[in-house]
């Protein structure tokens, strides 16, 4: 049996949640509404995050183009994703939604541009 303490992010209340995991059986205590239970169960079974960062862009007026994973990825893949993002350089122009990395770090999720970066003036 394992216990974890979490802070709910569902609303400004920020309930202190205690999650007890006994094999398949997960119980949540400390929540004051159903949002907390749902959040806690996801956090202990399959926590995911959208990763946002930036990559070097050549031939533009600015040095970096901002990027994000097109959807959320497993939390334990964040740094694998970052390692790939940090190696990449792209050339201007770049448009919002352009795929910068396909299937980043084996997550099946692409990294896409989040900024329109025209070529240098």
């Amino acid at each position: 049996m394992e216990t974890r303490n979490l802070t709910c992010i569902g609303c400004p209340m920020g309930c202190a949640l205690t999650v007890t995991m006994d094999g398949e059986n997960i119980t949540v205590a400390g929540n004051t509404c159903p949002v907390g239970e749902k959040y806690a169960k996801k956090e202990v079974t399959n926590p995911t995050r959208v990763v946002t960062s930036s990559v070097r862009v050549n031939g533009a007026d600015i040095a970096r183009v901002s990027v994000k994973t097109a959807s959320d990825i497993p939390k334990n893949k964040i740094f694998d994703c970052m390692a790939e993002i940090m190696k990449i350089e792209v050339n201007a122009p770049v448009s919002i939604g352009d795929v910068i990395i396909e299937n980043c770090a084996g997550t099946g999720v692409s990294v896409v541009a989040t900024k329109n970066v025209p070529s240098a003036t």
Partner: protein, 421 residues
């Protein structure tokens, strides 16, 4: 001197939303003056996601949110100038700006929308003792250096202040390979959003030390370390609690201040709590035809609220231009904030000429549990809403309907306060 119907000062989220809604309301002769090289303002460097849940019902990054408004402004062919720094605004609505192409230019406007945003509280305003070495940045400066200009800011990092930008930068620098050792917060609570504490600090095991501050900075050329101490209830450092951290970077995330030098020059009445101008329900300042919206009016935590507020300012500025004047017949009511409510925006309501309803935004002074937000018309309580938690970092709002004033024709004051539930 060229005259425009509406000049918008600032091309960030507030200025863009204001200009778009002014044009939709029927005024085409608009000019946006932006001092940066691009439209979009601070959103351009806020590359994290979480923007737009209210406005677009999806979670966007800052640049994506900005792009939606920039594209709309361009489609609507709203004129704008980049690299245009406004130097002064007169009460007669003459605006002096300069840029590389035109030099020094004077223009006049029938209406002005102030949308200059805010800036960060700098080290000089914090009274931190110690040397003044390189490596000390406001969190937003570090954010710009990393996300737009492509510099690596530092490797061993301490952050003072747990405002949202500081929290976001703790995660950003961690992802880029830096070691963020601690976030120290002077207050006994964080001014940042819960979600940011969890996803920017807890996710990476970065400790948050509440009721702590920086009491010393080491290093003559580059910062080499800081000393952090616990503070008492009066925010004074407690001797004997000092802990030293080696670091090459100190980020400051200690509050935002509306940027109102131009506003003061116009001579409008300012508000000591918000550091912005006092406005009525049309977001019009004390000078007729001068409107304000976004972070220059009061610091927001969600850009969605900035967009909504700015759209209202744009609409009202357009109505002012089209009608030529504001109405003669007025019934101005003053809004009073008390007992835990720090301020309200707007500060006055003109019941005679108001829209069907007005959104009153405000912040509370401390963290409160199980309190009500109560609204009084004169000395009669007309509304009470129970809140399980209220926090200074989360802006609150109430809607006041025009109909609701029918039974109170003679009131001169509305009070908004917190009360024990």
């Amino acid at each position: 001197m060229k005259q425009y119907d509406i000049v918008v000062i600032g091309g960030g989220p507030a200025g863009l939303a204001a200009a778009i809604s002014a044009k939709k309301a029927g005024v085409s002769d608009i000019m946006i003056l932006e001092r940066d090289a691009t439209l979009g303002g601070i959103l351009n460097q806020c590359i994290h996601n979480g923007f737009g849940l209210h406005t677009f019902k999806e979670e966007l990054t800052g640049p994506e949110y900005a792009a939606r408004f920039i594209e709309q402004a361009k489609e609507m062919e709203i004129p704008y100038k980049l690299g245009a720094m406004v130097l002064s605004v007169s009460p007669e609505k003459v605006i002096t700006y300069m840029n590389k192409e035109e030099g020094l230019v004077q223009i006049s406007a029938k209406a002005i929308i102030l949308a200059m945003g805010c800036r960060e509280r700098p080290r000089g305003a914090l009274n931190i003792p110690g040397f003044r070495p390189a490596g000390i940045y406001s969190a937003g400066t570090a954010q710009r250096l990393m996300n737009i200009e492509g510099y690596s800011v530092g490797k061993e990092v301490v952050i003072l202040g747990s405002g949202d930008i500081g929290l976001i930068m703790a995660r950003r620098m961690t992802l880029e390979g830096a070691n963020v050792k601690v976030v120290a917060e002077l207050m006994p609570y964080s001014g940042g959003l819960k979600r940011n504490i969890v996803q920017c600090l807890n996710d990476f095991n970065i400790p948050l030390k509440l009721s702590h501050t920086v009491v010393g900075i080491d290093g003559e050329k580059r910062i080499t370390g800081v000393t952090i101490a616990e503070v008492d209830a009066n925010r004074q450092p407690i001797p004997g609690t000092e802990v030293h951290y080696d670091c090459d970077t100190l980020l400051l995330s200690c509050g935002l201040i509306p940027e109102n030098e131009l506003t003061r020059e116009i001579g409008v009445e300012m508000n000591r709590v918000t550091s912005g101008p006092n406005v009525d329900d049309k977001l019009q300042t004390g000078v007729e035809g001068v409107f304000a919206c976004g972070n220059v009016l009061h610091v927001h935590d969600l850009v969605d609220h900035v967009s909504a507020e700015a759209a209202l300012a744009g609409e009202n500025a357009a109505a002012y231009v089209l009608s030529g004047t504001t109405s003669e017949k007025t019934h101005k009511i003053t809004l009073k904030a008390e007992n835990g409510v720090r301020y309200t925006v707007p500060q006055t309501i003109d019941v005679e000429n108001m829209r069907d309803s007005v959104t009153v935004r405000f912040r509370v002074a401390d963290i409160y549990h199980d309190r009500s937000i109560a609204v009084y018309y004169g000395d009669k309580k007309v509304m009470s809403r129970k809140k399980r938690v209220l926090a200074p970092g989360e802006m609150e709002q109430v809607q006041l309907k025009k109909d609701s004033f029918k039974d109170y024709p003679d009131i001169t004051e509305i009070t908004i306060r917190t009360e024990e539930a």
